[in-house]
Structure formats: structure tokens, C-alpha cells
Subunit: 286 residues, 2 copies
């Protein structure tokens, strides 16, 4: 009787790989590809992975995973929101998947959250394939504008209490969102006592961008601080955020309100996030 | 004239890959392979990488990289050491590369640091190829024992102020280092008021091991606490550590001494590291 040689099943594994830098990659084994398309602005891909659940990738960069997005979404939103006494009007720039907006709506005092994202398809695909994030678009307080953020900021007559810049990496159409010109425009639509938060990447994989973003913020705002947290699926896992305020008397490290229903954020975590390791302190104060 | 097609240079890239789990990998581009051997206990590999400098891999798992080992080495050592009023005698189990021992020697009060590692080749290769870690073996306070840690603990008549368990992953010969039997033996060689610290892995990639290690510690010690920090090249980057004490009155979250020359650790970071996000608190208190 003949014994046939067969190709082992494991060679059929499909993997998703992100180049965190050109010399560093993070790969996840895929259970199922859900959706892929080239939108007007970027390559959009959604897959189910074994370790991190549903994953959204834009232009080859992990944007959000079902398992760890709370680490990022909560820290991007609740830190500025809880440092503000009464945030009623919130602006999110980018964040088209809706995860940050979901967190914003955990604050009852928020009356309206305007989300400006250039790519309608991110919002649409999130609503369809990433409901844990995308269902925030159903909240009646949601005011979604599909347009260029720079244009919106120039044209709007609204003024905001909290502005959250949740962009993709600072390349291509998002590059301008990390520069002084942009911060200067944002400043004009911030109420007195308002706070801005923005991702400032990793001190390990994106040291130059982190330093530059903070320096550009400092050119425009009298008070700028850095805080940090872990996001396992972002480059190096060590993630930083910048906060900027018009009022230098304000201490963003001090939460003045609480929020319920969180998994990463607490008032104590809020305060701790502003305690910087010396290597990081040095990087931003040189 | 003929134009020849040539194979592009970039296909000659060499990459090092770790399976953080069977469904998740972290890869680094290699500048140069430095050394590889099969020791009596494990596959040992040392390479120069572009992003993380010199890297030590044991059985396919990143143990230490030149660029980020301070995150781990400082948190494993200074937290128990600074929570102790006068640590004179320190025991490191594992840690054959010497990086933790280097941190221990930053405390002038330490009179002797015994390092017990089963694999002589790790120490030898570290001295030769990873001097930033391995040169700690030259300190006159270093007492290196190349032997099985369980055997050492059974036989020694010494008593310690601080015990640091810096093992490889809890598999094969290191599996026993995460179990109640082991903790029970360690307890016998700890002075009154002594502290034990041990890596307890990641809540994202090794939730079960983390929970089990903490539970096993709790079977033996009246006081056990978890703390956390970032180590970019360890699975998920979100790393946890357990501390256990004989004296339940002792608060390991409160540093009673300072240490100089650190890049991650400060007294404030020490305190912050014990502030747990709710998802992690829940995991260990169920």
C-alpha cells in the first residue's frame, strides 16, 4: 500500500505583519480576513486574529484591536476629560473608528461630540465590522463630519472644551496634525480652560516624532505636559500622549472628576501616567 | 548592450523572530549575528539588531536587549531593594546575564549578592558579548554559583534580605520556579522582613501564568502584591512582577530608600507601579 506524503496543515497559517519601524515587526496570526479595500485615502484592512480579536489596519499600521484598544481609547479621552471641570463640547480629530468617541460619551456632562475624519469608509467599516467601537456613532450626541480636519478648524465657529487628536501616524495627509501651524489653529477654537490631547508615539520607536510634537506644541501653548501608558499592539507598547492648555494654572495631572465603566483608566492611573521615567523626562526636556 | 537583472539587496535582510505566543511574533532586523550555541540547557543566541542593539535570546525567547533591558532590570531589583530598609544580602535566582545584579550593586548597603544560575554559558557569554550586563560579575560583592536553584536553596545555610527570581519562561527546567513548593523553600532562606520579587509575565499574553504565579505565592506568603511596567521587547510590552513578604505589615509600594543612576526607576515610579488598571486588578483578585 502506498503512503502518500501530505503538506502539513500548519503551513496554511495566514499572518498579518506591521512594520513598527523598518527594522521591527509585530505579526499576528489571522483567524479570518473580514474586509479589505483601498479607500480614497488609505489601504483599509479588517481581520479576526487569534490573540487580539478584530483588528483594524490602515496603510499597514495597526489602528485598533478588540483586545487592547481600551488601553489607548481610555487614556486618550479620560485624561483630558477628567482634568476638565465640565466638558460639554468635545472635538475628535481623526478617530473615525469611534472607539475614542465611545469613551467620551461615558461622561454625562458631554452634550455634543464632533468627530472630524477625512475618510468616510473608516467610519462605515467600523460601524459594520467593529461594533464595539463603531456603535458610538448611534449616540444622539454624535456629530460626525466627514472632511479634512484643517479645513473644518478654519471654518467652524464652534468652540470646544476638549480637543482630542487621534490621527494615524504623522505621514501623508496626517503629517500636518503634528505641527505648530495646526496647533495654532486648534488653539483658536478652544474655549478658555480647554485642553488638547494628542498621541505623541513611542520614545523607543519614534523618539524624534515624539520630541518634535511636544516641541511644536510648546511653541503655541503656554502649558504642555506628557503622559504615558501601555498599548500592546502599538510600536514598542510604550505609548505617550501630549496635553496642551491655554491656562498655565491648570494641572492636567490632577483629575477633578471621575468616570465609570473603565478597564484601564482610574483617577489613580491618571495621576501615575504623568510620572515619567527619567529616560523619558530627559528626552522631552532637552 | 545587455542589461542584467540583479536580485535586490534588501532580500538579504536577516530577521530574528520570537513567538510571543503561538499566534503572535516580534521580529527584529539583524545587523550582525554575534554568537550561537547549544548549551547543556538551552539554545543561546546573541545578535546585534538595528533597533534594540545587542540581544540575548534563550530557546527562542528574548531575554534582554541593550536598548530596553533597563526597564526590566531596574524594576525587578529596585522595587524590592528600595522597599527594604537595609538590604545587605541579596539572592538572584537565574539572571545569569548579570543585568539585574548590576542594578543590585547600585545599592551601597548591599554587602553580597549571590547569583545562582544553572547555565554557566549564559554568564560566560554575557561577560564576553554583553559587557553592559556581564561586567557586574567583576564586582567583589558578586558570589556566583553555577548550579540548580532548588538544590542551592535546600542546601544553603545563608539567609537573605531580598530574593529576586529572574528566570526564563516557566517551562522546562524553570517551570518549578513559579510553584508553591518553591516559594515555600525560598521562604525558609528569607530573613524576617525580607522581600521576594519575581516576574509574573503579561496579562495579555500570559494571563494564566500570571494568575497562577500570584496564587501560588499567596499560598505561602501572608502578603503578596503585583506591580507593573513596560518592557518593549517582552510579550505585549505590558509586564508584571509579584512581590511577597513574610511580614504583612510591610508595604512594598512604599520606597523607604532611594537609588541613583537609574533611567526608568524613581521613587515616584515605584509607587505608581503598584497602581493597577482595573482589568488587571480584576484578573488577580478573582
Amino acid at each position: 500500500m502506498t503512503e502518500y506524503v501530505t503538506r502539513p496543515r500548519r503551513f496554511n497559517d495566514i499572518w498579518l505583519t506591521e512594520y513598527s519601524t523598518e527594522n521591527l515587526t509585530l505579526s499576528m496570526k489571522v483567524k479570518k480576513f473580514i474586509h479589505a479595500e483601498k479607500t480614497k485615502y488609505q489601504e483599509l484592512l479588517i481581520a479576526d486574529t487569534y490573540d487580539y480579536g478584530r483588528v483594524l489596519m490602515l496603510d499597514g499600521a495597526y489602528q485598533l484591536t478588540e483586545v487592547d484598544e481600551f488601553c489607548y481609547s481610555e487614556m486618550m479621552s479620560h485624561v483630558p476629560l477628567c482634568a476638565h471641570e465640565n466638558p460639554e463640547k468635545v472635538l475628535i480629530i481623526g478617530g473615525g473608528d469611534g472607539a475614542i468617541m465611545r469613551e467620551v460619551f461615558k461622561h454625562d456632562c458631554v452634550k455634543k461630540c464632533t468627530l472630524v475624519d477625512i475618510d468616510q469608509r473608516v467610519a462605515d467599516c467600523s460601524k459594520e465590522f467593529l461594533p464595539f467601537a463603531g456603535k458610538s456613532f448611534e449616540d444622539p450626541r454624535c456629530d460626525f463630519k466627514c472632511m479634512d480636519a484643517m479645513k473644518f478648524i478654519h471654518e467652524t465657529s464652534e468652540r470646544y472644551d476638549v480637543v482630542i487628536v487621534d490621527s494615524t501616524d504623522p505621514v501623508d495627509f496626517a503629517a500636518g496634525l503634528f505641527r505648530a501651524d495646526f496647533y495654532s489653529d486648534v488653539k483658536k477654537i478652544m474655549k478658555p480652560g480647554a485642553i488638547l490631547s494628542e498621541l505623541t508615539m513611542s520614545p523607543f520607536t519614534d523618539k524624534d516624532i515624539m520630541q518634535q510634537s511636544i516641541n511644536e506644541m510648546r511653541k503655541i501653548f503656554p502649558a504642555v505636559k506628557l503622559y504615558w501608558g501601555v498599548v500592546p499592539t502599538y510600536p514598542s507598547g510604550f505609548w505617550t500622549y501630549g496635553v496642551a492648555m491655554n491656562n498655565p494654572e491648570m494641572n492636567p495631572a490632577l483629575p477633578v472628576r471621575k468616570v465609570n465603566g473603565t478597564r484601564y483608566y482610574t483617577s489613580e492611573i491618571h495621576k501615575s501616567a504623568f510620572v515619567l521615567p527619567p529616560f523619558l523626562e530627559e528626552m522631552i526636556n532637552r
